[in-house]
């Protein structure tokens, strides 16, 4: 049996646990998500309370579904950041306890690198330009010389924030993205909204303000959802196109929770096609935050002995993607 890693994810609203092997099999992936009341956003402390109440059960279930016991594990990987301090600490505390009890290495994983690696695994991408869209990231990155280099990102709120906050102001259930996608399909007329691209960067706060005001002024929600998607996704497609032209990569890989949106995929697919690049999107079951992104990245880190001492394993709420050394690529 190849080495087994347990991965724990708790950077934001999702607590996840998963067992993966070094040869790329995800043996289990269990998660539970804290859902704030309609019209509200994540409350970090409430999310942490949610996680601590279900964490044991999620971990046990991940071991059970993988048909292994804790003693079979060769390491415990945990997302130490970036994310919300209170929720990060729930995952980190459990991972430290498990690693020390089982006398196996504790493996620190960067959440965004987890998104990228699970995307690369499930799409068999080798050297992609990555578009990472999650609650905390709107980032365009490519790998060079041991690091992910950032080519473009948001200058204010993320695309996930934009969809969540617009959804909230319209009284839609959280997360806003899927609801907005459903309503957008019924949208008929396009309403002009601020389109802001600067270099390979995007800026969404002006778009959010304008769309919220138009909603209050009584414009149809379906048309606004359609237009918010059209404008925000086109901005991102343009930023991705510029980055693709600049880096000349032959693969365009979409990862993160927003990756399941079909309208967005379609735009990026066009961009990739025009630049002779293959378009791939992460397997939808691993698109949102999950344990598998951490367990699989943990196996890669294990291969390079990237461990952390328990005393030095503090969480890093603001850990930056381009600060992380990645020796396995």
């Amino acid at each position: 049996m190849p080495p087994l890693i347990l991965g724990i994810e708790s950077t934001a609203h999702t607590f996840g646990a998963s067992v993966a092997t070094t040869d790329g099999s995800i043996l289990s992936d269990v998660k539970r998500t804290y859902v704030p009341g309609t019209g509200r956003g994540i409350h970090p402390r409430e999310a942490a309370q949610h996680h601590s109440s279900i964490a044991d059960a999620v971990i046990l279930q991940a071991l059970e579904r993988a048909n292994v016991t804790a003693r079979d594990l060769d390491g415990v990987a945990v997302a130490l950041g970036p994310g919300l301090g209170p929720t990060l600490r729930i995952g980190a505390t459990l991972a430290r306890a498990l690693a020390s009890r089982l006398r196996v290495p504790l493996i620190p994983v960067h959440h965004a690198i987890g998104h990228i690696e699970i995307g690369a695994l499930t799409t068999r991408s080798s050297d992609p330009l990555v578009v990472l869209l999650s609650g905390g990231h709107t980032t365009i990155a490519a790998f060079a010389s041991r690091r992910w280099r950032i080519y473009g990102e948001t200058e204010d709120i993320t695309l996930g924030n934009l969809l969540d906050m617009f959804g909230r102001s319209a009284g839609l259930a959280s997360p806003g993205g899927p609801e907005i996608e459903r309503l957008a399909m019924k949208g008929k007329s396009f309403i002009e909204l601020p389109y802001t691209v600067k270099g390979n960067d995007v800026s969404y706060s002006g778009l959010l303000t304008a769309a919220t005001k138009l909603l209050q002024a009584g414009r149809p929600i379906e048309d606004l959802c359609f237009s918010v998607q059209e404008v925000s996704f086109s901005m991102l497609a343009e930023a991705a196109e510029r980055s693709l032209a600049h880096t000349e990569k032959k693969e365009l890989l979409l990862v993160g929770g927003v990756a399941s949106n079909l309208a967005l995929r379609k735009k990026l697919e066009i961009v990739a096609g025009e630049h002779q690049a293959d378009f791939r999107a992460v397997d939808p079951k691993f698109a949102g935050d999950c344990g598998a992104q951490i367990s699989w990245t943990g196996t890669l880190a294990l291969s390079r002995q990237m461990f952390v001492d328990i005393e030095r394993s503090q969480v890093k709420p603001r850990w930056r993607l381009d600060e992380v050394d990645v020796p396995w690529r």
Binding site: G41, Y151, S169, K198, H246, I270, L321
Partner: protein, 201 residues
């Protein structure tokens, strides 16, 4: 001749208004930048509705490639010059909006041209100047990662000589602030907490 082509991933209505706006913006700003003392291609003719500009062809190599062949002192001198040109733009109330080493042409006579003003704008705001310099910094960091700190330091030195110490200090503070926003940060977390006005129905 530069024609902005239709992007098939954009809705026609959106696409057309963007292309028209950028064409007219580029034509105006190429001209005004030249007046601010920054070499740009001379504009001969503009067809806004056709999204086309006819302009001078600048023969040379992109700074992106030229930088890689330079020795230390040449690199420093060139990057300082880049900084002083950005300083001239900013002093004239112009932000370029797409500062990368692909958008700078070094001629055989060692004259540096700025091109591609489609994302440019008129602004005296510290925020827009900060974004402009941040884009420049990112271009060095991602594309020229081995040179980044030295090259960008020289850019800032050149910039400082034109706009002065106080202004440079103000803008670099702003750059740090902007950079913190985009990455997973206090702000994007704060935007997820409940008591935000826009979030209340």
């Amino acid at each position: 001749m530069k024609t902005r082509l239709r992007k098939s991933y954009r809705l026609d209505a959106l696409d057309h208004s963007i292309r028209v706006a950028r064409t007219s913006r580029e034509a105006n700003l190429l001209h005004d930048s030249k007046r601010a003392g920054v070499p740009t291609p001379t504009v001969y003719q503009v067809d806004t509705a056709g999204c086309t500009i006819i302009m001078e062809y600048v023969d040379g190599s992109r700074l992106k490639e030229a930088l890689t062949d330079m020795d230390q002192s040449e690199l420093r001198r060139t990057c300082k010059h880049v900084g002083s040109l950005i300083g001239r733009l900013h002093s004239a109330g112009i932000v370029h909006g797409d500062l990368t080493t692909s958008n700078m042409i070094l001629t055989d006579g060692a004259k540096l041209f700025f091109i591609d003003f489609g994302l440019s704008d008129y602004s005296y705001e510290v925020e827009s100047k900060g974004v402009d310099l941040l884009l420049m910094s990112r271009a060095f960091k991602s594309t020229h990662y081995a040179l980044h700190s030295r090259a960008f330091e020289a850019v800032v030195d050149g910039y400082r000589e034109v706009v002065g110490n106080d202004e440079t200090h103000l803008i670099s503070g702003k750059m740090r602030e902007i950079e913190k926003r985009g990455r997973y940060s206090e702000r994007s977390q704060a935007s997820m907490v409940p008591d935000i006005k826009q979030g209340q129905v």
